[in-house]
Amino acid sequence: MKKISVAAACAAWLMSALAAGAADKPELRIGSVVAMTGPASALGLPEKNALELLQEQIASDTSLPFTVKFITYDDASDPTKAVNNVRKLITEDNVHVVICCTTTPTSMAILETVTQAKVPNISLALGQSVIEPVKDRYWIFKTPSTDQLQIQVLVDDMVKRGLKKIAFLGLEDSFGEGGWVALQAVAKAKGVEIVAAERFSRTDTNFTPQALKVRQASPGAVYIHAIPPSSALVHQALKRVGYTGPIYHSGGSANNAFISIGKADVEGALLGTTPVLVYGELPDSNPLKPVITKFAALYEKRFNVPKVDIFPGQSWDAGNIAILAASNAVKAGAKPDNLEAFRAALRDKLEGVKEFVAVGGIFNYSPTDHLGLDQRSTFISVVKNGEFRLYNAK
């Protein structure tokens, strides 16, 4: 056993010496685990594609102080597999930074593993719990926006329109609960009163009683935290019982199913959105526009898709941020060959990422903020003539 490992070490040394001889540069190893199969594969596959695209793009980039090697595994949307593969990345592939995972449950499962191994991780999951509380999530960062951020922007709009009494309608699962908790916090901070809170489930056949209750509380605005079909059906029910005020939706409804189900009834619906969905309508002065336009063109051409959605941008950003932090670490004198020290240096440099314009927004990580996004990265879209349009240009 010892002999083999000595031989392997020799071989590895020889290989790295050869590689170094060829490129004269150290190697940065980025390991990622995404859900290429299983229930979350609709998110995971585009994420894998974007990492592939990044690898191709970076290969010809000679300005970096290292060569980049991507190692990507599938977790099949399964937390146990995610943990095993992350462990493999850390101990066998000796990666400097991990990008994992697609969903909140898988990302939560690997927290312990990366924290104990002292490896920085960038998650692609939506859940705020992945990075909070920050003091316990020292090694964890994430790129996707959160419910809370979107709700803040929506509530700001309500306040701006003078709507101080609002109603909440949400799914009764963990997704709806997340929205409810976030809305309560935001409403309290902004001095908005929640006059009704009603729940429904995805498999309900009737949403009229809840809609009636909400209308009778006469709120100035209604916020619906759900996904289609129920988000669109609740919207229709509100219209049917005679509610005429503005209706706001979470980002979970910002997809085509929402419009194809709600049809004319959802005209005028306001939704929290990430920049990717509305970048074409941003003013040219917005720094996000050129970055997203370039990424969208690359991705759409490479994978032959008509319109890029939000998921590939999240892993693309994670990869780019990892490379940025790594090159800053090298500039500060850290050596990628010294694995442990470089992992720690890379993590410190992640917290030093400032004003980094990416696809998902403008990132400003800090020791107290591992989300890095603010309201400049969140937009409201409105349904107009059966399409999502930008509502408030910034």
């Binding site: 729940r199 429904f200 995805r202 498999t203 056949t205 009737n206 009683p209 009636l212 199913a257």
Partner: protein, 340 residues
């Protein structure tokens, strides 16, 4: 206040009608085969998604399910070839003919763009035989199993069919065109025409089933098997055929309910289970055996659901399913009085 109460009453009754066809299916299956069919709601899903596929011009995945099921049926019959090859050959040919006919009808419906009502008929032709197949695979091999075994099996069937639904159609919801768009105002309440269509179909189905079981020989055979399985067998009634027929009719009623429901809530793979369970609570009122009482039961379920969704939306399912407890207590008390 009065307005709200009236609103909830009408809303609840409309709601209850959606469960009525399910309760009808459950009673039919239970009386003839003693199966408490938890999987009954899955036919709602199959019916809705099949119709969605047909209306959007896609080959429905149900056709492949049907062909696969028929093939499996022929395989299960393999043992008969040595004993009685003529019978087996006839059986296999018959099933293959059914598969080909189903495929041809579907192709024709798709290429000729049938109107909605005709498409519903085609979808029924595709989904209803699945009921017989599931009977053949799960109930037929163990005719003497206890009720609890059948319950457990039907839970398994439900999971399997829902999984197949997810595999075939994916998780995304499909909008379905209503038979008639719009609706009318009944006092303060808006009633979609679709809800009225559900009511009409539910009443017609119940009437049809009543006439069928009272005035046809097959219907009487069904009734006999329901009353006393062994006795019916002694009288020369093929109880297995009766069981298959019960599953066929129940699948058809439930699928029909799904097709009528889909325009109100879209068709998706997980839509059936809850509808099935709520139909079950209603049918429990009639002890899974009494049609009029079951109908009253689903109306109470619908009314309670609407009222509780209005008063305490987070607890409405809890309240609806808690209704089982008073129902069972009431039935128990009634039974004791009867036996005394």
């Amino acid at each position: 206040m009065i307005d709200t109460a009236l609103f909830l009453l009408v809303d609840g009754l409309t709601n209850g009608l959606i469960y009525a066809l399910l309760a009808l299916s459950l009673v039919l299956v239970f009386t003839v085969t003693r199966v408490v069919n938890i999987a009954q709601g899955e036919y709602v899903m199959l019916g809705a998604l099949t119709l969605a596929d047909l209306l959007q011009g896609r080959m429905p995945g149900t056709l492949y399910l049907l062909i696969g099921g028929l093939a499996l049926c022929i395989l299960l019959d393999a043992g008969r070839w040595r004993r009685d090859w003529r019978g087996a050959l006839l059986f296999a040919t018959g099933l293959i003919a059914v598969a080909i006919a189903a495929a041809l009808i579907t192709r024709m419906a798709l290429s000729l763009h049938f109107p909605v009502i005709a498409m519903m008929a085609v979808a029924l032709l595709l989904v209803a035989p699945l009921g017989v197949l599931i009977y053949r695979f799960t109930v037929h091999p163990i005719p003497d199993a206890s009720t609890i075994v059948f319950v457990i099996i039907s839970v398994g069937v439900s999971m399997a069919v829902q999984g197949l639904g997810l595999l075939i159609w994916g998780a995304s919801p499909y909008p379905v065109e209503p038979i008639a768009a719009g609706g009318l105002m009944a006092g303060p309440v808006f009633i979609p025409y679709q809800a009225i269509a559900i009511m009409v179909v539910a009443l017609l189905s119940m009437g049809g089933l009543y006439l069928f079981s009272e005035h046809t020989l097959i219907g009487k055979a069904l009734q006999a098997s329901a009353m006393n399985r062994l006795g019916a067998q002694f009288c020369g009634i093929p109880v297995n055929l009766a069981g298959g027929l019960a599953f066929l009719l129940a699948a058809a009623f439930s699928a029909l309910s799904g097709m009528l429901l889909a325009p109100l809530i879209t068709a998706n793979y997980e839509m059936g289970f809850m509808v099935g369970l709520k139909g079950f609570v209603g049918a429990a009122m009639g002890g899974l055996a009494d049609y009029p009482l079951s109908l009253a039961g689903v109306m109470i379920v619908g009314g309670l659901e609407s009222t509780s969704a209005y008063l305490a939306s987070a607890y409405r399912d809890v309240l609806v399913f808690s209704l089982l407890i008073p129902i069972l207590l009431w039935r128990n008390a009634r039974q004791r009085v009867e036996t005394r």
